[in-house]
């Protein structure tokens, strides 16, 4: 990329600020997307920006943050590249307030300030990503190479995004359309030593007049991940690991996406089709928490093969975004279809009352434990007006989803669900220093849960079974939910200081699992019982953020205070159930009042143009205020943690430019604030190294990034890891290298 193009590109990232001639005008939508703005849609070449100094542009990006009253973190591709992990969320873990629930090396779910699952909404290219409701043991089906920018809202954002945005939003954006005529693209290749990960991504873009096309292809193949121990104990059951490899955690990923678009003077349209396909093994010696005997000789023959148990997920998306800009108005319509097709394969084990031999007449193969197939149609419409001191956004959204199930194991019934919502957001620039934001939203949703009957009788002698011994795990029912939320925010921007505050309510409709689960999750030895009477989860949160920027240093502090009137969670009880639970412990979905508070802290000091230091800290406290677990925390509470960083950026040379060397010392405290069935997790310290530069090879610049994660090969347990309960340590030392070439 030549300098001016890169400049325009940065401008686009910083875009959303530009409307007319008032660069300070905030855009409440997606401030990182130039596409959203009327200015850029009218002025595609953006030649007038070419003279701008790059420093100014960077400041614009920072200004985006100052314009939103919520606590947000903006992450760009270069951050993801320099911190690349096995999955997108792992790559974002360094962001203060973000942690992950990891499973294996290729998948992880986001936790924002300690909340995750359905309390965090993931949005990809403007459309809510659907697919993560099923359980803790799978990740996010997103191609991390395609993610160009990520905006993380660390707080309730239901007023704009709807249900599920109760704890925060991870808003992922693909690359912007090419600004110049011609053909371009990039190739990225990478390797990771710990699990023998090899992979890469290639993309090509082309633009002619008002039309553009884009294609991307991503491939990854990895082996079992490696831990710095030679045995682990699943409960007390000792498992010897072959050379420290976590048996059968290998995986593969194959993604592609294509886009075609038209960029007119007023009208723009882009159609994107993408597919993410993964196949990944589960640790063979423990399916969930259930110890499994394995044929070690078969498993240890190769660290790259995927044997039972494993999962396969294919996520397909078709998104069409159309926008029209006229005068002071901007209208945008998103239409989307997505399908999440997930299958879990595992040997048949006759748990509970299941017959000892798998019946031949079953419609599924004996190795198909579970299957979930989700089809989602969604629509988002927004209409924005940019007036003198006011910016008004009116929006509506609708969604329909159909979910079917399969396999011999039952956890959640099939269901259909529709929802719609309307919202209005007003941004008022009182003065150049003061900005106010207010928002209102109404949502309605209906869920229809289908009945499910066991295929086996729950009696000790199957030959004496009566029809009533074939238990109904779920009855057919419908529920309607209504929700009304509001939010008010203020930004105060005196010079170098940025102060913001936001108070708002948020909501989340209960999901099928919470309403209707009625089966034994044998991998956790628990009988999960839904509660069809649950209310929509509601939360009230106060966010404050202060940021001070000086020439050589900057500090930011963002505390929050959050109250849930009815936090929905799976409560372990003292009961053991014989009929429905086959002797397992009863876990009830229940709601309780919850109080949470915490803060993130970030400080950067630049000693010289070459040397700088950074300090990052995060803390969350949660406490249940009512119900059976009064006084307890919430599951997966991240312990306090911090990072001390030193970065050295020497002057480059002609063929070796923008070099950097960075060392991160990460310290994580002990987590003794636990809730059944968790265990106290000891603190740990890790050292990570990062280095990189743009190197000229045959006159072509290649960006090279090297990382050494867990330099000292420390054995540690991560409190928010899926495998924590069986005390499986996290990955040992990992050296990863990635190369990127842009043309």
């Amino acid at each position: 990329m030549t300098f001016p193009i890169r400049l325009i590109f940065f401008l686009c990232i910083a875009g959303g600020l530009f409307y007319g001639t008032s660069p300070a005008l905030a855009h409440n939508g997606f401030p990182m997307m130039g596409q959203d703005t009327t200015k850029l849609s009218k002025q595609d070449t953006a030649s007038e920006y070419q003279d701008l100094d790059e420093v100014v542009v960077v400041d614009q990006a920072a200004m985006v943050k100052r314009e939103i009253s919520n606590s947000v973190a903006l992450v760009r591709q270069d951050f993801i590249r320099e911190n690349r992990g096995g999955s997108l969320m792992k790559s974002l873990e360094r962001v203060p307030g973000i942690s992950t629930i990891g499973i294996g090396s290729g998948a992880s779910k986001p936790l924002i300030r300690g909340l995750g699952f359905n309390q965090v909404m993931v949005v990809e290219n403007g459309v809510k990503h659907e697919g993560q409701q099923w359980g803790a043991d799978h990740g996010l089906e997103v191609d991390q190479y395609a993610a160009e920018q990520v905006m993380i809202i660390k707080g309730p954002a239901s007023f704009k995004y709807g249900s599920d945005a109760i704890a925060g939003v991870i808003d992922i954006r693909d690359k912007l359309p090419p600004a110049e005529e011609g053909v371009g693209g990039s190739v990225e290749l990478g390797g990771r030593s710990n699990n023998g990960w090899i992979g890469g991504s290639a993309n090509v873009t082309a633009r002619k007049d008002n039309w553009f096309v884009e294609g991307r292809f991503t491939l990854a193949d990895y082996g079992d991940f490696n831990v710095p121990v030679d045995s682990v104990f699943v409960y007390d059951f000792g498992v010897a690991l072959h050379q420290g490899d976590v048996r059968n955690t290998a995986g593969r990923e194959l993604d592609f996406s294509g886009r075609i678009g038209y960029l007119g003077k007023h009208f723009r349209n882009a159609l994107t089709v993408s597919r993410v396909r993964t196949r990944s093994g589960f640790f063979a010696n423990a399916h969930g928490l259930e110890p499994r005997q394995v044929d070690a000789a078969v498993h240890d023959r190769s660290s790259r093969d995927i044997l039972l148990p494993y999962q396969e997920v294919t996520h397909t998306k078709v998104i069409n975004r159309a926008s029209y800009a006229a005068g002071k108005q901007f209208i945008q319509l998103d239409l989307a279809y997505q399908r999440n097709d997930r299958k879990e394969w595992s040997q048949y084990v006759n748990h509970g009352y299941m017959p000892p031999l798998y019946p031949a007449e079953m419609p599924y193969p004996s190795s198909q434990e579970r299957a979930f197939d989700k089809h989602v149609f969604s629509l988002n419409l927004k209409d924005e007006w940019f007036l003198d001191k006011h910016q008004i956004m009116l929006g509506a959204s609708g969604e329909y989803q159909d979910n079917t199930i399969g396999g011999w194991g039952f956890l959640i019934p099939a269901f259909q669900q529709y929802s719609y919502g309307v919202f209005a957001i007003e941004k008022f620039s009182v003065s150049p220093l003061w900005k106010l934001t207010a928002a209102l939203r109404y949502d309605h949703s209906r869920i229809h849960v289908e009945a499910y009957q066991d295929w086996f009788p729950s009696v000790e002698h199957a030959d004496q079974a009566a029809p009533s011994d074939y238990l109904y795990r779920s009855s057919d029912f419908r529920r309607d939910f209504d929700s009304f939320v509001w939010s008010v925010g203020v930004n105060f921007l005196p010079g170098d200081l940025s102060l913001k505050g936001n108070l708002g309510t948020s909501f989340r409709m209960p999901i099928a699992k919470e309403l209707a689960a009625n089966g034994v999750n044998y991998h956790y030895f628990r009988y999960e019982k839904g509660n069809p009477d649950l209310d929509p989860e509601r939360s009230l949160q106060l966010d404050v953020e202060a940021e001070l920027k000086k020439e050589n240093w900057q500090v930011a502090f963002s505390p929050f205070l959050n109250y849930f009137s009815n936090y929905i969670y799976l409560n372990p009880t003292a009961e053991l159930d014989i009929l429905y639970g086959a002797g397992n412990q009863v876990f009830n979905y229940t709601q309780a009042e919850v109080l949470r508070y915490g803060a993130e802290f970030n400080a950067v000091y630049r000693f010289t143009p070459q040397w700088s230091a950074e300090l990052i800290g995060e803390y969350v406290y949660s406490e249940q205020q009512s119900g059976a677990k009064r006084g307890y925390t919430l599951p997966f509470s991240p312990p306090p943690s911090g990072i001390v960083n030193i970065t050295y950026q020497p002057l480059g040379t002609e063929s070796f430019f923008s070099p950097y060397f960075a060392v991160d010392l990460r310290a994580t405290a002990r987590q003794a604030n636990i809730v059944p069935p968790e265990k106290v997790t000891e603190g740990y310290q890790l050292v990570h190294l990062r280095a990189g530069a743009k190197v000229k090879v045959f006159q072509q610049p290649i960006q090279a990034d090297l990382q050494v994660q867990n330099l000292l090969n420390t054995r540690y347990l991560n409190h928010t890891s899926f495998y924590r309960l069986i005390s499986l340590p996290e990955a040992g030392r990992n050296i990863s290298l990635s190369l990127k070439y842009e043309f």
Binding site: E575, K629, P676
Partner: protein
């Protein structure tokens, strides 16, 4: 909404003055204690056509909840055993009429130590071979401890 505000205000005060009044929480798992009279033990052998006396001592730091017993075949060696020493196992075989036993039991309220007992009939006509004997015990707070024993029925 009024209540929400009040709680938020209270929360602010509390977070400013420290932890305030917090209920004492129990973070300890109940225990299954092996005593001289415990039965079965790892690698115990049960006889078909007999009645065996299950006996295990449960203990908790606060208050016990309930317990359950589950006997199922392990002819495929799927391993639920949580004991370290492995017993000698018979070759893998297909089940024909394996024994299945699942039962839950109450523990009288207010106890932090209890000896669980149960009489279990081992039918005459079941498949002999390797079995798992699972004992689950909970406490009032929902902590659960599982002991999986490998046993043999002859």
């Amino acid at each position: 909404m009024k209540k929400n505000w009040y709680i938020l205000l209270m929360a602010l005060l509390f977070s400013a003055c420290g932890d305030g009044e917090k209920p004492v929480i129990d973070t300890e798992y109940p225990e299954i204690i092996v005593t001289d009279s415990s039965f079965p033990l790892q690698c115990s052998v049960l006889e078909r056509g007999s009645t065996v006396q299950f006996r295990a001592l449960f203990r908790d730091n606060v208050e016990l909840g309930g317990f359950s017993v589950d006997i199922h075949h392990n002819f495929d060696h799927h391993t639920h055993s949580t004991e370290v020493n492995d017993c000698e196992e018979e070759p893998v075989k297909a089940p024909v009429n394996p024994m299945l036993f699942i039962q839950t039991y109450q523990i009288p309220s207010g106890l932090n130590e209890y000896e669980g007992t149960a009489e279990i009939d081992i039918p005459e006509d079941i498949d002999p071979g390797d079995y798992h004997f699972m004992i689950r015990v909970t406490d009032q707070e929902g902590w659960q401890t599982i002991q999986g024993l490998s046993i043999k029925i002859e």
